[in-house]
C-alpha cells in the first residue's frame, strides 16, 4: 500500500510516496539518494545503517519509513552540517576504521551513546543505576557499541575515539 510521507533528513525536508513496508534505510538510500547509512545485513544485526531519530539511535533497516515522519533523521553526514563533528575528528585521529563501510553507523551510534550517557541511561554494565550522568568507561563504551559490528575489527581504535569525545563532553573522567 502506498503512502505519502514527508521525511526530514539531515535538515532537508522531502515529500515522497512509499510502499508502507519500506524501511527507513531503503527510503534513504533508494529514494532520497542519501547513502551515508549503509546496508550490511538488513536485519538489525550489524549496525551499519544506524541513524539518529530525534537524537536517539536506531537501526534504520528496522524502522518503517512511514513511522519516521515528524522526526528528525540524522545520518553521520548530517552530523557534519556545520563542519566535522567531534566524533568525526576523533575517529580520524585514532584511525578508527579500515574499509569505512560500518563507520557512518559507528559514528551515529556513538553520538547516540554520548547522549544516553549524558541523560544517565544505564546499560547492562552500569554499576550506579541512579547516577544523573553515566560515566562512559571503556567497559560502558564496549557494551553500548556492541551492536555495531566492524569486520575489519577497528574496535581497538574506536573505543579510544569515543572515549576522547566523551571526556570532552563531560561524560568521562
Amino acid at each position: 500500500m502506498d503512502h505519502q510521507i514527508t521525511l526530514q533528513v539531515d535538515g532537508e525536508r522531502s515529500a515522497l510516496t512509499v510502499d508502507t513496508r519500506t524501511s527507513l534505510l531503503d527510503a534513504l538510500r533508494e529514494r532520497l539518494g542519501t547513502t551515508s547509512a549503509k546496508k550490511g545485513c538488513d536485519h538489525g544485526q550489524c549496525g551499519a545503517c544506524t541513524v539518529l531519530l530525534d537524537g536517539r539511535r536506531v537501526n534504520s533497516c528496522l524502522v518503517l519509513a512511514v513511522t519516521a515522519e515528524d522526526q528528525e533523521v540524522t545520518t553521520s553526514d548530517g552530523l557534519a552540517a556545520d563542519g566535522p563533528h567531534a566524533l568525526h575528528e576523533a575517529f580520524v585521529d585514532h584511525d578508527a576504521y579500515q574499509c569505512g563501510y560500518c563507520t557512518p553507523g559507528q559514528i551515529t551510534s556513538a553520538a547516540g551513546v554520548l547522549a544516553e550517557a549524558a541523560q544517565g541511561w544505564p546499560s547492562a554494565v552500569t554499576e550506579d543505576l541512579t547516577a544523573e550522568r553515566t560515566e562512559l568507561t571503556d567497559a560502558e563504551i564496549r557494551e553500548r557499541m556492541s551492536g555495531n559490528l566492524c569486520r575489519c575489527a577497528a574496535y581497538a581504535n574506536i573505543v579510544p575515539a569515543v572515549a576522547d569525545v566523551a571526556a570532552a563532553q563531560g561524560v568521562r573522567a
Binding site: D19, R29, E30, G33, T35, S36, A37, K38, K39, G40, C41, D42, H43, Q45, C46, A48, T75, S76, D77, L79, A80, P84, L87, H88, F91, V92, D93, D95, Y97, Q98, C99, G100, Y101, C102, T103, P104, I107, I141, R142, E143, M145, S146, N148, L149, C150, R151, C152, A153, A154, Y155, A156, N157, I158, V159
Partner: protein, 804 residues
C-alpha cells in the same frame, strides 16, 4: 641497502598519516558500488532463482509466469549467454548450471524495474529438478572418494618412515577444523552499463578487476578491450572478493547487454552467505616424531581441504597450506600430502592467509597436544623447534632472517612479563576450582608473494599535470587495508613532493591492464614497486630539465619536499611546479606507466619445490584467557603482540592491520561456527544472528601491539613488508591459551584436544575431558595417514585464461 628499499631524506613513507579517504569514511560520503545506483538512471535490479537442493539435475526452467509479473523485464537463463557459460577460470563453474551443486545454487536470474518485482519474478520461475545424492561433509567426501584438482605432496629430507622409526617419540592423530565466512559488511555488488557500440562498463566490488573483466568478456563473447571494470573501493574483501565477484558481474553485464539498461546486482546478506565461498575447512591426519629433547624429527600428514562444489582457488590455497605446515619450525623429514574434497557446498575460496593459516594451525595443534605428553611446556617445545640461521623450509627456501623470530619472541616474553605472569596464572589456578586461566605464546612465519610466480607483477600509471599536481592509478584495489594511502605515500616519496600534491583515482582496467588480484598481502609490494618505477621515469626526465636550469649535472638533481635543487641543500633551488611547467614547454612527457616484477622467485608446483616467497613476515603473540568451568565461557584478559612489517610504509595503517587481523583470526578460531545441515546441505548460519562475529565485547581487555624495530627488508619497496594476512595467525595464541586453561581443570600434565572453532561449548567439552583426565586423542605410534595417489597438478590446475 637496495635501490628499491632505500628511503630518501624526508620520505613521506613511514609517516603515520590517516587513511586517504578518512574524511569521506567518517561522514559516509565515500562511495561504494551500491551507492552509485541512485546516481544512475533507469537501473534494473537482479534477483537470483535459487534451487533449494544440495545436488540435483535441472530438467526444466519455465520462465513464462515470471515474465508475466508486473515490473519483470527479463529472465536470464543459459540460453542467453552469447559467449562461454562459465564464471571461473577453471571451466568448472557454469554461470547458469544444469546441475545444482549446492543448496541455494542460482540457475537463472530475473531483472525487474524494482527489486521487489525481480524478487516476485524469481519466485514465479518454475524449476524442475531431479534430486541426486549429495556429499556434504569432508569425511563423506573422503569415504566417497569425491576429490577434485591436483594432489600434491611436499617431501623433504630422509625417508619419513625411517625418520619416524628412529624417533624417540611418535604420535598420531586427527584434527578437523572449520572454515570461516568473510562477512565483509558490504555484500557482493556489481553495476553494469553498456557504453557506445556495445562496450560494457562494470563497477564491481572486486579484489581482482582484471579477472572480473576477463570473465565478463568471455561470458559476453567480447574481447577484454571491450570491457572495462572499475572498483571504487570495497567495504571489506578479506579474499572473498578475489574470485567470487566475477560471475555476479557477468550476470549484471549480460543483463545490461540484453536490455540496454544499467543493471544492479547486489546480494543481500542471506544470498551472499548461501551463494558465495568461504575459507576452506580442513581434515588433517598426521604422525609426528620427536627426539628426547622435544625436537621435531619427522612429520607425515595428509591434509584434505573442503573445496566445495568447484575448484575456484582451492589448489593454490592447498599449496599454501602445505607450504606453511612448518610455520616457524625446523622439521628434518617431511611428507605432507594434500587433496581437495569436492562437496555439495559453496565453492570455498580465498580468505586472508589463503591456506597458510590452515597449514600452520595443524602444526600448532600438534605441538599444543603433544607438549604435555612430552613433558615440556608448550612455550618451551615451540622455542626448541624454531628455525635457525642456515636452515631451509621443506620446499627448499632458505629461512632468511630466522633470527627476527627469536628477537620478536624474546621481546614478547619480556614485554608481557611472561614468566612472572605464568607463575601468577599457576597460583590463580591452584586457588580457583571453577575458573582457570591460561597463558600461551605462539609464533608466526608467513611467506610473502603469490606461490604462482607469474602473478608477482604490478602496474601503475602516474600523471603529472602542468600545474604540478599528481594523479596516480595502480593495479591494486582498496578494501580498507590502506593500500591507496600507502601508494600515495610512495608516490610523494618517489617524486619528492608533499603528500597533498598527490591524488589517487579509482582502480580501473582501462588505466592499468593485466593486473593481479589484490591478494597474498602483496598489494603494496607489487603496486608500490610499480608506482615508484613510474615516478622515477618522470623524475629522470625532469632532472634533465632542472639540470639545465640549475647548471648542475642531471645526476646531482634532488627532488625534496616540493623543491628541486642540486646536491647542496642550501644551494639554488626551484619549486617543483616551475620545473614541471618548464618541462611541459620543453615538450617533455610528464606521465609514465610503471611496472614491477618481484625478482628471484621460482616455483615448481608439481615437485612442490623452489623459492616462491620474496621474504617471510614474522610475528609473536602472547595471550591470557580465563575460562569458566561451568559453562566454557571465557574472556581474553590480555594480549601482547610484536609483529614484523619491515620498515613500515604507514605505521597507523599497519597497526590497524595487525590488530584487525589478529581479531579476525580469533573470530575464526573461537567464535565463528559455520554450520551446515548435513542432511539437506543447507547452511544454517546465514546471518549475524546465528554466525557469531567478533564484536566490541570480545576484544582483549588489555591489547598491546607493537611493530618490530630494525626490521628493514631489502627486497621490497622502501624496506617495508607486507602486513595484510600474517597477523591473522597471531590468534593461535588465544586458542593455545584456551587449551591450557581447559587442561588446568585436569590433573597436572593433562593434554587436551580442542575443537576449532573453540566456542564456549567446545571449551566446555575440553574442560570435561580434562576433568576426566581423558588425555588428548593422540596415539603413541600409529600408522601412516592415507596416501593420495592422484597427480600433483592437473592440466586445469594452472591454466590461465586465454590459454587453450
Amino acid at each position: 641497502m637496495s635501490a628499491l628499499s632505500e628511503r630518501p631524506l624526508g620520505a613521506v613513507v613511514g609517516a603515520a598519516v590517516p587513511h586517504e579517504a578518512a574524511a569521506l569514511h567518517v561522514t559516509g560520503r565515500a562511495l561504494y558500488t551500491d551507492d552509485l545506483v541512485g546516481r544512475t538512471k533507469g537501473v534494473l535490479h537482479a534477483w537470483p532463482v535459487q534451487v533449494l537442493a544440495a545436488h540435483a539435475r535441472v530438467t526444466a526452467v519455465r520462465t513464462d509466469a515470471a515474465t508475466d509479473v508486473p515490473g519483470v523485464v527479463r529472465v536470464l537463463t543459459a540460453a542467453d549467454v552469447p559467449g562461454v557459460n562459465d564464471a571461473g577460470v577453471k571451466h568448472d563453474e557454469p554461470l547458469f548450471p544444469d546441475e545444482v551443486m549446492f543448496f541455494g545454487h542460482a540457475v537463472a536470474w530475473v531483472l525487474g524495474e524494482t527489486l521487489e518485482a525481480a524478487r516476485l519474478g524469481a519466485v514465479a520461475v518454475e524449476v524442475d529438478v531431479e534430486e541426486l545424492p549429495a556429499v556434504v561433509t569432508v569425511r563423506d567426501a573422503v569415504a566417497a572418494e569425491s576429490f577434485q584438482g591436483g594432489q600434491p605432496t611436499l617431501l623433504r629430507g630422509p625417508d619419513v618412515e625411517e625418520a619416524l622409526a628412529g624417533s624417540a617419540h611418535v604420535f598420531s592423530g586427527e584434527f578437523e577444523f572449520a572454515g570461516q565466512e568473510h562477512f565483509y559488511l558490504e555484500t557482493h555488488c556489481a553495476l553494469a552499463q553498456v557504453d557506445e557500440d556495445g562496450q560494457v562498463f562494470v563497477q564491481s566490488s572486486t579484489q581482482h578487476p582484471t579477472e572480473t573483466q576477463e570473465i565478463v568478456a568471455h561470458v559476453l563473447g567480447l574481447a577484454s578491450s571491450e570491457v572495462t571494470v572499475q572498483c571504487l573501493r570495497m567495504g571489506g574483501g578479506f579474499g572473498g572478493k578475489e574470485m567470487q565477484p566475477h560471475g555476479l558481474a557477468a550476470i549484471a553485464a549480460l543483463g545490461a547487454r540484453l536490455t540496454g539498461r544499467p543493471v544492479r546486482l547486489r546480494l543481500n546478506r542471506a544470498q551472499d552467505i548461501t551463494m558465495t565461498g568461504k575459507r576452506h575447512g580442513f581434515l588433517a591426519q598426521w604422525r609426528v616424531g620427536f627426539d628426547d629433547d622435544g625436537r621435531l624429527t619427522a612429520l607425515d600428514a595428509t591434509l584434505t581441504s573442503d573445496g566445495g562444489w568447484s575448484l575456484d582457488l582451492s589448489e593454490p590455497v592447498l599449496a599454501r597450506a602445505l607450504c606453511h605446515i612448518d610455520n616457524a619450525y625446523w622439521i628434518p623429514a617431511v611428507r605432507v600430502n594434500g587433496r581437495i574434497a569436492r562437496t555439495n557446498k559453496t565453492s570455498q575460496t580465498a580468505f586472508r592467509g589463503f591456506g597458510g593459516p590452515q597449514g600452520m594451525l595443524v602444526i600448532e595443534d600438534v605441538l599444543g597436544r603433544c607438549a604435555p605428553t612430552l613433558g615440556f611446556t608448550a612455550e618451551e617445545l615451540r622455542r626448541r623447534n624454531f628455525y635457525a640461521a642456515g636452515q631451509d623450509t621443506p620446499y627448499g627456501q632458505p629461512v632468511r632472517h630466522a633470527d627476527r623470530l627469536a628477537t620478536a619472541w624474546q621481546q614478547v616474553l619480556d614485554s608481557s612479563d611472561f614468566s612472572a605472569r605464568t607463575a601468577s596464572v599457576e597460583a590463580f589456578n591452584a586457588s580457583s576450582a571453577h575458573v582457570k586461566r591460561g597463558l600461551a605464546i605462539t609464533p608466526v612465519k608467513f611467506g610473502i608473494s603469490f606461490n604462482f610466480t607469474a602473478f608477482n607483477q604490478g602496474g601503475a600509471l602516474v600523471h603529472v599535470y602542468k600545474d604540478g599536481s599528481v594523479l596516480i592509478t595502480h593495479g591494486g584495489t582498496e578494501m580498507g587495508q590502506g593500500l591507496h594511502t600507502k601508494m600515495l605515500q610512495v608516490a610523494a616519496t618517489a617524486l619528492g613532493v608533499p603528500l597533498s600534491r598527490v591524488r589517487l583515482a579509482p582502480t580501473r582496467t582501462d588505466k592499468v591492464p593485466n593486473t593481479s588480484a589484490t591478494a597474498a598481502s602483496s598489494g603494496a609490494d607489487l603496486n608500490g614497486g610499480a608506482v615508484k618505477n613510474a615516478c622515477e621515469q618522470i623524475l629522470g626526465r625532469l632532472a634533465q630539465v632542472a639540470a639545465e636550469e640549475l647548471h648542475v649535472p642531471a645526476a646531482d638533481v634532488r627532488f625534496v619536499d616540493g623543491r628541486v635543487r642540486g646536491l647542496d641543500a642550501d644551494g639554488p633551488s626551484l619549486p617543483w611546479e616551475d620545473v614541471v611547467r618548464l618541462a611541459y614547454f620543453s615538450r617533455v612527457q610528464l606521465w609514465a606507466a610503471g611496472f614491477y616484477r618481484t625478482e628471484g622467485l621460482h616455483w615448481d608446483s608439481a615437485a612442490m619445490r623452489g623459492e616462491p616467497f620474496k621474504y617471510f613476515a614474522y610475528g609473536v603473540a602472547a595471550a591470557e584467557v580465563e575460562v569458566d568451568g561451568f559453562t566454557g565461557a571465557y574472556r581474553v584478559r590480555r594480549v601482547d603482540i610484536v609483529h614484523d612489517v619491515g620498515d613500515s610504509l604507514s605505521p597507523l595503517v599497519d597497526l590497524g592491520q595487525v590488530e584487525g587481523g589478529f581479531v579476525q583470526g580469533v573470530g575464526w578460531l573461537t567464535l565463528e561456527d559455520l554450520r551446515w545441515d548435513e542432511r539437506t546441505g543447507k547452511i544454517t548460519t546465514s546471518s549475524a544472528s546465528t554466525y557469531k562475529l567478533p564484536s566490541f565485547s570480545e576484544m582483549p581487555e588489555d591489547f598491546r601491539v607493537s611493530l618490530l624495530d630494525a626490521a628493514h627488508e631489502d627486497g621490497a619497496v622502501y624496506g617495508a613488508k607486507a602486513v595484510g594476512e600474517p597477523p591473522l595467525m597471531l590468534a593461535f595464541s588465544v586458542r593455545e591459551a584456551l587449551r591450557q586453561a581447559a587442561a588446568a581443570f585436569g590433573p597436572a600434565g593433562t593434554s587436551v584436544d580442542l575443537a576449532s572453532p573453540a566456542t564456549p561449548e567446545a571449551v566446555f567439552w575440553a574442560v570435561e575431558a580434562a576433568r576426566a583426565a581423558e588425555g588428548a586423542h593422540v596415539r603413541d605410534g600409529g600408522s601412516a595417514p592415507p596416501q593420495p595417489q592422484g597427480p600433483p597438478i592437473r592440466p586445469e590446475s594452472e591454466r590461465v585464461l586465454g590459454q587453450a
